[in-house]
C-alpha cells in the first residue's frame, strides 16, 4: 500500500523521464541517435552499392541499431574492448571506425584499416580502437573475449570486454565453453546476444527448445537479462549496469536483446523462401530509430529539423567517403604473401 502510494505521489510531482532513469544526458541521447542514423544510412548505401555492382558482398545491420549502439555505448572508448561479429556495424561505429573505414573494406581497397581487403566486408578489427579482429566461423570470438577478459583482470586493468553474437551462435560448442569459463573465473565480460529470430533461414524454434537465450546464464552461474532490442535506452541501461558490475569485480552478464533483421542475411541471401513479407513489415513497425526519434522529439531533445540536418550531414560525409574510397588504390598482387608470420 505505502509503496504504491509513494510511487503515485512521485508521478504526481513528475515521473522521471526514461533517459533520466537510464542516467543519459541529452548530449548522450544525441550521440546514440547519431550513431543509429549513421549505421542505418551507411547500411542503406552499402546495399545500394551492392545493387549497382560496386560492392560484391554486403551484410546488413538494419533493425539491430538499437541493441548494437545501446550496448556499445556503455563501454569506455579507448580502454574497453569490443569483440563484435559481422552484423555489428553499429558497434564498430560507436567504437570509432569511420564510414570511410567501413567502405574501404566494402570496396576491398588496400587502405582498409581492418584487414587490408583480405577478408570479406564486415570483418572488422582495430588494435588501436580495441576492436578484436573477427573471422567468419561462428562463435569462435566468444572464447577470445573471455580470455581477453581474463587477461584484463590478471593485469588489474579497469577495462571490460563486450562480446556480441547472434542467437544461432549460442548453439556452437565454443559458446558453451566460453560461458562456462567466464562463470568459473568471474571475468569482466558482457555477452550480448542479438536475437533476431533467424540464423540465416533457421528459425529460433529449430535452433533451441527455449524462448530466451538469457535463461541459459543460470547454468553458468551468472545473470541473464532479456531486453527489448528496439529500445536503445533500455539496451544501454541494462548493458551499462552489466558493465559497472563487471568493472567492479562482479563477473559476467548475458544480455539477450530481442531484435530483427530487416534485410536478407547478406546480399547473397534471398529471404523470401523462409519468412513472409508481412512478418518483415510488422517487424519494421517496431523500428528502433523512429521510436527513439519520437521519444527525443517528445522530450524536446531534437526537432524534426534537427533530424533533417543530421541526415544531411551524414549524407554529405557519406558522399565524401564514397568518393574517396572509389578512388583509393587496390592491393597489389604480392600483398597476398605478406603477414603470414612476423616480418
Amino acid at each position: 500500500m505505502a509503496k504504491a502510494e509513494r510511487a503515485q505521489e512521485r508521478s504526481a510531482e513528475r515521473a522521471p523521464a526514461r533517459h533520466e532513469v537510464a542516467n543519459l544526458s541529452e548530449a548522450q541521447l544525441l550521440d546514440l541517435h547519431r550513431f543509429m542514423v549513421t549505421a542505418r544510412m551507411l547500411d542503406e548505401r552499402m546495399w545500394a552499392l551492392n545493387r549497382q555492382g560496386k560492392a560484391p558482398f554486403v551484410v546488413s545491420s538494419a533493425g539491430h541499431e538499437g541493441c548494437q549502439v545501446g550496448s556499445a555505448y556503455a563501454l569506455t572508448r579507448g580502454s574497453d574492448f569490443c569483440v563484435p561479429y559481422y552484423r555489428d556495424l553499429g558497434v564498430v561505429l560507436v567504437a570509432g571506425l569511420t564510414m570511410r573505414d567501413v567502405l574501404l573494406g566494402v570496396y576491398a581497397k588496400v587502405e582498409d584499416p581492418c584487414n587490408g581487403a583480405r577478408q570479406m566486408p564486415s570483418h572488422w578489427g582495430s588494435r588501436r580502437l580495441g576492436i578484436i579482429n573477427g573471422s567468419s566461423p561462428i562463435a569462435t570470438q566468444v572464447p577470445h573475449a573471455v580470455g581477453l577478459a581474463y587477461a584484463v583482470k590478471y593485469r588489474r586493468e579497469p577495462a571490460v570486454v563486450m562480446c556480441w553474437f547472434g542467437e544461432g551462435a549460442t548453439s556452437m560448442g565454443d559458446w558453451h565453453e566460453a560461458m562456462n569459463f567466464a562463470g568459473i573465473h568471474k571475468v569482466p565480460v558482457i555477452f550480448v546476444c542479438e536475437n533476431n529470430k533467424y540464423a540465416i533461414s533457421v528459425p529460433q524454434t529449430k535452433q533451441m527448445a527455449i524462448e530466451n537465450v538469457a535463461d541459459r546464464a543460470a547454468g553458468y552461474g551468472f545473470e541473464g537479462h532479456v531486453v527489448d532490442g528496439n529500445d536503445v535506452m533500455a539496451c544501454y541501461e541494462v548493458t551499462k549496469a552489466a558493465v559497472d558490475k563487471a568493472r567492479s569485480g562482479g563477473g559476467p552478464t548475458l544480455i539477450e536483446a530481442k531484435t530483427y533483421r530487416y534485410a536478407p542475411h547478406t546480399s547473397d541471401d534471398d529471404d523470401r523462401t523462409y519468412r513472409s513479407k508481412d512478418e518483415v513489415k510488422q517487424a519494421r513497425e517496431l523500428d528502433p530509430i523512429p521510436r527513439f526519434q519520437a521519444y527525443l522529439k517528445e522530450h524536446g531533445v531534437i526537432t524534426e529539423d534537427g533530424i533533417k540536418a543530421l541526415v544531411d550531414t551524414i549524407r554529405t560525409e557519406l558522399a565524401e567517403a564514397v568518393q574517396y574510397v572509389d578512388q583509393a588504390p587496390y592491393p597489389v598482387p604480392e600483398d597476398a604473401l605478406r603477414h603470414v608470420y612476423a616480418e
Binding site: 570479406m120 544461432g168 556452437m172 587496390y330 592491393p331 598482387p333 597476398a336 603470414v340
Partner: protein
C-alpha cells in the same frame, strides 16, 4: 539424358536417393525452407518433410556427431556442411569417431555417413569461404574422400558414397557448381570410389588434377594440343582417398613426366603425397622432376579480387608449366 550443371546433378541425385530409400535423410544448416545456400536441397523439405530434411542448429561438430548416431541407428544420413571452411569444428567427430568406429570396434560397428561440403576459391569468399580441406582428411585412414569434377561423375559417385559402408566426405567445388555442365543419364548408376578417370588422353606428360583445377588443366591441355601439337594426358583421380595409384603410375610410366595441380596450400597438400609416390615408385621412369603447382602457403584466399587471382593457379600459369615440362 539431360544437360545439367554440377549443382543440379547433385540436387537431382540426392532427390532420387531420398525418393528411393526411406533410410536416407539430409541434415545441415539451412537445408530446409532455404533449400541450402547453394540450392542443393531446393524443394526437398516440401517433398520429403521436416523429419527427413533437418534444418540443424548452428553446430557442425554435432551435425556430424548426430549423423554418426543416426547411422548407428540404421539410417543413411547425408550431412551438409554449409562451407568446407566450417568443417573444422567437426574435425574431432570426423577424425576420432567416424573414421575409427569400424577399426576400434574390430569391425563390429560401421559408420555409413556422407558429409557433403562446397569447397574451393574463385568466388570472392575470402579466407573463410574458399578453403580446400581435402588434405587434412586424406591423411586419415578410415575415411574416403570424393572430389567429383563433372556432373556425370557427381551422380555416380554420390550414389556410391551413400551406399558405401564407410564414412565418405564428398567435396564439391563451389566455383564449378554452375560453371560446369554436362550430360547426365536419367537412369541410376554408380561410379566406384577409388577409380581415376583419364579425362583426356595424351603421351607428352601426365597432369593430375581435380575440381576447378581439373577444368583449368583441360583448357591448358587443349591449348597445348592446338598451339604445340603436344598431347597432355589429364587424369582426374575423382577420389583422393583411396587414391587410384595404379592408374597414376600407369599413366606416368607411359608419359615419363608428371605434373600435379591443386589449389590447396602447396605444402602437404594432396599433391605432396602424389609427387612423393611418383618420385619413389617411378624413379627410373621419370624423365623430368615432378612439377607441383599449388596455392601459395598463406593462411587463406584473400577476399580482394586482385589478391584472390594471385592466390589461385591460373590456366595461363598451368599452360606455361605444361609447355615447359612437355619440352623438357
Amino acid at each position: 539424358m539431360a544437360k545439367k550443371s554440377l549443382i543440379k546433378s547433385i540436387h537431382d541425385t540426392m532427390w532420387d536417393l531420398m525418393a528411393g530409400d526411406e533410410r536416407v535423410l539430409i541434415m545441415g544448416e539451412d537445408v530446409g525452407t532455404r533449400g541450402g545456400v547453394f540450392r542443393a536441397t531446393e524443394g526437398f523439405v516440401d517433398k520429403f518433410g521436416e523429419e527427413r530434411v533437418i534444418d540443424a542448429p548452428l553446430a557442425e561438430s554435432s551435425i556430424v556427431g548426430h549423423g554418426i548416431g543416426m547411422a548407428l541407428g540404421g539410417l543413411l544420413p547425408i550431412l551438409e556442411i554449409q562451407f568446407a571452411d566450417f568443417i573444422h569444428p567437426a574435425f574431432n567427430q570426423i577424425v576420432q569417431e567416424a573414421a575409427r568406429l569400424r577399426y576400434r570396434s574390430n569391425g563390429d560397428f560401421t559408420c555409413p555417413i556422407v558429409i557433403r561440403a562446397p569447397y574451393g576459391a574463385g568466388v570472392h569468399g575470402g579466407l573463410y569461404h574458399s578453403q580446400s580441406v581435402e588434405a587434412f582428411f586424406a591423411h586419415v585412414p578410415g575415411l574416403k574422400i570424393v572430389m567429383p569434377s563433372t556432373p556425370y561423375d557427381a551422380k555416380g559417385l554420390l550414389r556410391s558414397a551413400l551406399y558405401d559402408p564407410d564414412p565418405v566426405l564428398y567435396f564439391e567445388h563451389k566455383k564449378c557448381y554452375r560453371m560446369i555442365t554436362g550430360e547426365v543419364p536419367d537412369e541410376d548408376y554408380e561410379i566406384p570410389i577409388g577409380k581415376a578417370e583419364i579425362k583426356r588422353e595424351g603421351d607428352a606428360l601426365t597432369v593430375i588434377a581435380y575440381g576447378l583445377m581439373l577444368h583449368h588443366c583441360l583448357a591448358a591441355a587443349e591449348r597445348l594440343s592446338q598451339e604445340e601439337g603436344r598431347e597432355a594426358e589429364v587424369l582426374d583421380p575423382r577420389s583422393v582417398a583411396p587414391m587410384d595409384w595404379p592408374a597414376i603410375f600407369q599413366s606416368v610410366t607411359k608419359t615419363s613426366k608428371a605434373m600435379i595441380v591443386y589449389e590447396d596450400n602447396r605444402t602437404l597438400g594432396v599433391g605432396a603425397e602424389i609427387s612423393a609416390r611418383i618420385g619413389e615408385e617411378l624413379f627410373y621412369d621419370l624423365e623430368a622432376p615432378v612439377v607441383r603447382i599449388g596455392g601459395p602457403d598463406v593462411p587463406g584466399t584473400p577476399y580482394s579480387k586482385v589478391l584472390e587471382d594471385f592466390f589461385l593457379p591460373t590456366p595461363d600459369q598451368i599452360y606455361a608449366q605444361m609447355l615447359e615440362l612437355a619440352r623438357y
